[in-house]
């Protein structure tokens, strides 16, 4: 057994016009990341990810994964760009072509280190004698692996290596030490001498350098792009009809095939009677395959209509009348008769069951599930002049290319894969779920023009490779005090995700075993794979146990998770977000002086109002106006604010494009802040170069934060720090920018457009900026967008819904009513 080598293989090459191309193969060793000998050796020979820096300072990231709605083009590019300290505005994203150079071996390595080879790849490994090195020839998108493995080991390392090389070039040029240089927004800076160079100016030299062995990755606190809600690059094309999916391929001269498969899995076609099908308009040919029959026509609809006229006979089989009930009966027999194979055996479950004061039992079942991707399965193949072209939505372009080339009898090098978006994948479009790919290729072999084979929705549901049906039998043993002694689980296989049936709970005796669940129904990975059923089984039975033990199911789990801080944290966060079981109401002054929260979920950004819907049309306009005018008139007139304010000015302040209200927790709460205070100021300053921008510090700002903000403001002559009353500042400004401060809430009283760059519970009345791009847009269009917002109604709704005003006469009655309502008394 050889451990993964520490060596990395980085390829750099110079580009015409003075750029650099960087490819990286990364293996990050740790005690978790041991792979078998074959994987380790092959790990030394491939390149996983590429990024390109050109002389014009643009960066191109080649993403070797399929975009199927998970945002992978954006997320992987963010990972590379962040480590590179690239200016996100200068980053281009391209789908990596389906060629060996972009095979994503990081996935194999990542999985191999975590669990052994994942079962969805086992087929390839076990049926094939070829070396694992060649198995790396795939571009799998699946198993939640893209960010975890390609991103973590490939993209980040490539970005960090490139950054280090660019620094080295700049340092050499300036004759300074590399550690005196910093990077930001696609530039290397030497702060001591005030010099800087764009990456594009250094790229040609960087191409000549020896790549670093082990580039240092950023600490999460240093991330500038990762962790932000960046707008997805694939979305604009998905709102105007221009996004191309596999089914949208239209090479010239294309024909269409509609197909009928054997109605029982595993049976073969016996005979076909074309009937009148061939006489219909546009019908080219009827193609008979081993397990199916297809009609090829000049339109899919014509092919599908003609197929209805074709009669076909398929073999009979032992499964012709097999029903769901038969299949579950088989599962019950396996569970009753078989001892199965071991998943976990700890302690002595059998003995514990015998000694137990009580034993409870639970039985669970889940059915087969089709993937049901919105885009029906399809594949277009063109075999011509000893070449083959393939268009299809797939989770493994390289694997599909190889499969089609093999069936077509054409060398892989002469095969071309044409990428597209996927209208959903969910595992259906992984390798080994070959039925459309194989059939499309075999049909296309009969023609010299492209043929697109399309499964109807009915075919798609009936001819899938399903999430398996599974039955599971549990037993739990208790002692006389109600403590859990033993956990017993028998379920029908196969195991596709090792570990999915394991439990983290501290139960001394555990016996988890898998029995035979094979049927004639084809199965495959399906969205989260075994977790989809095992988590349901396990956690349902844990609830049963807690119920029997007479314990709160949350507390019960927490007690059994003493050794698992991460699991406990997950439960805590979930409970907090759900406001679960806290039996308390949060009381805190609200944004507006005199009003208090009394909330079961939390306060400020985390109050229950965050989840509430504001429907202006359901609010009484007269009452709202009366309330709004009363509260805001008083506060503006008397200069009342949540924090003490300077006296109001006798004449209006100089008008400004924006005012930015800083908050005291500006580097604080990762969970709720989309932008930092610095980003907020810099983005606003740059977007509003022509006009004044006010910045107001928070009264409780730390000295360090104060110094930092003042330094940032000093970079812009048109940005002024002001101590004036928030009411004067809001009045003078076109828009208000904030994370989620009370000052901004108060600006709503002046009906000002407010931009919140953090989560808030008054987002209904603001423009939320989740990225600097959002902020720029909001600055531009804010007044226009918010012009007709129902501020009066919002105020009345917000403060009336959850906040109490103690000054009012009926305060006690209203407070009790609120407590009864919120605490379910």
């Amino acid at each position: 057994m050889k451990k993964i080598s520490r060596r990395r293989f980085l390829i750099t090459s110079a580009l015409v016009g003075g750029g650099v191309l960087i490819g990286y193969s990364a293996t990050r060793p740790s005690r978790h990341r041991l792979a078998n000998t074959e994987l380790a050796q092959s790990g030394e020979h491939y390149v996983t990810s590429l990024l390109k820096i050109e002389a014009d300072n643009t960066v191109t990231v080649y993403v070797p994964h399929s975009e199927m709605g998970q945002g992978v083009h954006t997320s992987l590019s963010m990972m590379a760009a962040d480590e590179l300290d690239a200016d996100w505005e200068l980053v281009n994203i391209e789908q990596a072509p389906a060629i060996d150079l972009f095979a994503n071996g990081d996935i194999i390595k990542g999985f191999a280190s975590e669990f052994g080879v994942p079962s969805f790849l086992e087929g390839l490994i076990s049926v094939s004698a070829i070396k694992v090195a060649e198995l790396m020839n795939m571009q799998i998108t699946g198993g939640s692996s893209s960010v975890r493995f390609t991103g973590e080991f490939g993209m980040r390392t490539a970005g960090a290596a490139a950054r280090q090389m660019l620094i080295e070039c700049a340092a050499t040029r300036w004759g300074v030490a590399a550690d005196e240089c910093t990077t930001q927004l696609s530039h290397v800076h030497h702060n001591a001498s005030g010099r800087s160079l764009a990456y594009g100016e250094l790229a040609a030299e960087a191409a000549l350098l020896e790549p670093p062995e082990d580039p240092v990755l950023k600490d999460p606190s240093q991330f500038n792009i990762m962790g932000k809600a960046i707008s997805r690059v694939d979305i604009p094309a998905k709102v105007d009809g221009s996004a191309i999916y596999g089914l949208d391929a239209k090479p010239a001269g294309m024909l269409y095939a509609a197909i009928r498969f054997a109605p029982v899995f595993g049976t073969k076609l016996v005979s076909v009677d074309a009937g009148d099908a061939l006489n219909r308009r546009g019908i080219k040919r009827i193609v008979e395959l081993e397990d199916s029959v297809a009609v090829v026509a000049d339109s899919y609809w014509r092919a599908k209509e003609a197929l209805k006229l074709v009669s076909s006979v398929f073999e009979t089989s032992a499964n012709d009348n097999t029903s769901s009930a038969d299949i579950y009966a088989g599962f019950e027999r396996s569970l009753a008769d078989e001892n199965g194979s071991k998943v976990i055996e700890e302690g002595d479950t059998e003995a514990a069951m015998e000694l137990a004061a009580d034993v409870i039992e639970g039985n669970y079942r889940v059915p087969y599930l089709a993937h049901a991707a919105m885009e029906p399965m399809n594949c277009t193949v063109h075999i011509h002049d000893d070449k083959v072209d393939v268009w299809t939505s797939t989770q493994d372009a390289l694997g599909i290319k190889a499969r089609v080339a093999k069936i077509a009898g054409i060398a892989e090098d002469d095969a071309t894969f044409h990428h597209s978006y996927l209208g959903g994948g969910f595992g259906r479009r992984l390798p080994f779920n070959w039925n459309v790919i194989d059939h499309a290729t075999l049909i296309a072999k009969e023609f010299d023009v492209p043929v697109k084979t399309v499964l109807s929705r009915e075919d798609d549901m009936q001819q899938d490779y399903y999430r398996p049906a599974v039955a599971s039998n549990f037993k739990a043993a208790f002692d006389a005090e109600g403590n859990v002694l033993a956990w017993h689980n028998r379920f029908t296989g196969p195991v596709q995700t090792p570990g999915a049936s394991h439990i983290p709970y501290a139960i001394a005796n555990q016996s988890i075993r898998v029995v035979d669940g094979d049927t004639h129904v084809p199965i495959a990975a399906w969205r989260s794979v075994d977790h989809s059923q095992q988590t349901f089984f396990t956690e349902s039975f844990v609830d049963e146990i807690a119920h029997r033990a007479g314990k709160n199911p949350y507390q019960f789990r927490m007690e059994l998770l003493q050794q698992h801080p991460r699991h406990r944290k997950v439960l805590e966060v979930a409970a907090e977000a759900a406001g679960y079981g806290q039996n308390l109401l949060h009381a805190m002054p609200a944004y507006v002086w005199g009003f208090w929260y009394l909330d079961e979920v939390g306060v400020y950004w985390n109050s229950s109002l965050r989840f509430a819907r504001f429907c202006a049309d359901q609010i009484d306009a007269d009452k709202a106006t009366y309330f709004f005018n009363g509260v805001s008139g008083h506060m503006l007139r008397e200069n009342v604010s949540k924090s003490p304010q300077e006296a109001r000015l006798s004449s209006p302040m100089r008008p400004a494009a924006a005012v930015i209200y800083c908050q005291e927790l500006e580097n604080g709460d990762d969970r709720c802040h989309y932008l930092s205070t610095e980003e907020m100021i810099r983005t606003t300053a740059k977007a509003q170069r022509e006009a004044l921008v006010y910045v107001k510090l928070h009264p409780d700002q730390s000295k360090a934060a104060r110094r930092h903000i003042m330094a940032v403001c000093n970079d812009y002559p048109h940005v002024k720090i002001s101590d004036a009353s928030v009411h004067d500042l809001s009045q003078a400004s076109r828009v208000v920018v904030t994370l989620n401060s009370a000052a901004a809430f108060e600006a709503l009283m002046q009906k000002k457009p407010v931009i919140t760059c953090a989560r808030s519970d008054f987002w209904h009345a603001t423009l939320s900026a989740r990225s600097t791009g959002d902020l720029r847009e909001a600055l531009k269009y804010g007044p226009e967008v918010m012009a007709s917002f129902a501020y009066e109604k919002f105020f009345y709704w917000f403060l009336g819904r959850n906040c109490l005003e103690p000054q009012q006469e009926d305060f006690a009655a209203r407070a009790w009513a609120r407590i009864r309502e919120k605490a379910y008394l």
Binding site: M68, I235, S299, W301, A373, E375, G423, G424, F614, A616
Partner: protein
């Protein structure tokens, strides 16, 4: 011969009268923005406008739209802008879809946007219940909360 306008341009197609509009658009005219999802008017991926009304094109034969005005996702913004050449290249609905980052795989979103646009045109301020009862399109990724959010952002603006 089937004759109808698609995004303002008259089309004369030599196709069977019973050919569904979906396949006339996709296979005959090469306009692939309108999607095939189920073929039985169940999922809504194929939604287009016929005279401004949302219609599921996969079960609408071309004979039923003879002489009518069809708008597809490709022409939505252009038809809304009319002769106004300085109009934005996206409608407010499309822009809201970007602002709220609605699409995931995106396959159902052409139909979703066509359905939402038709709803807002006839009812500028739909309630949640009206949104739910009018937008019955299927999204396998589960983008429904953002679809509602995007529609509401337009309704209350």
């Amino acid at each position: 011969m089937a004759t109808f306008k698609v995004n303002g341009i008259e089309q004369n197609l030599d196709v069977e009268p019973e050919m569904p509009l979906l396949w006339a658009l996709r296979d005959e005219l090469g306009m692939t923005g309108t999607k095939f999802g189920c073929g039985i008017a169940s999922c809504g991926a194929c939604t287009v406008h016929v005279n401004g009304r949302a219609v599921r094109s996969c079960t609408t034969p071309v004979s039923a739209v003879e002489g009518q005005d069809i708008t597809t996702i490709e022409g939505l913004a252009g038809m809304a802008a009319g002769a106004n050449t300085s109009a934005p290249s996206l409608t407010a609905v499309q822009q809201a879809w970007i602002d709220h980052q609605v699409p995931q795989c995106g396959y159902c979103q052409s139909g979703m946007i066509m359905a939402a646009s038709a709803l807002l045109a006839s009812n500028p301020n739909p309630s949640d219940a009206e949104i739910d009862s009018n937008i019955t399109n299927v999204c396998r990724c589960g983008s429904y909360p953002r679809v509602r959010k995007a529609i509401r952002s337009l309704a209350t603006a």
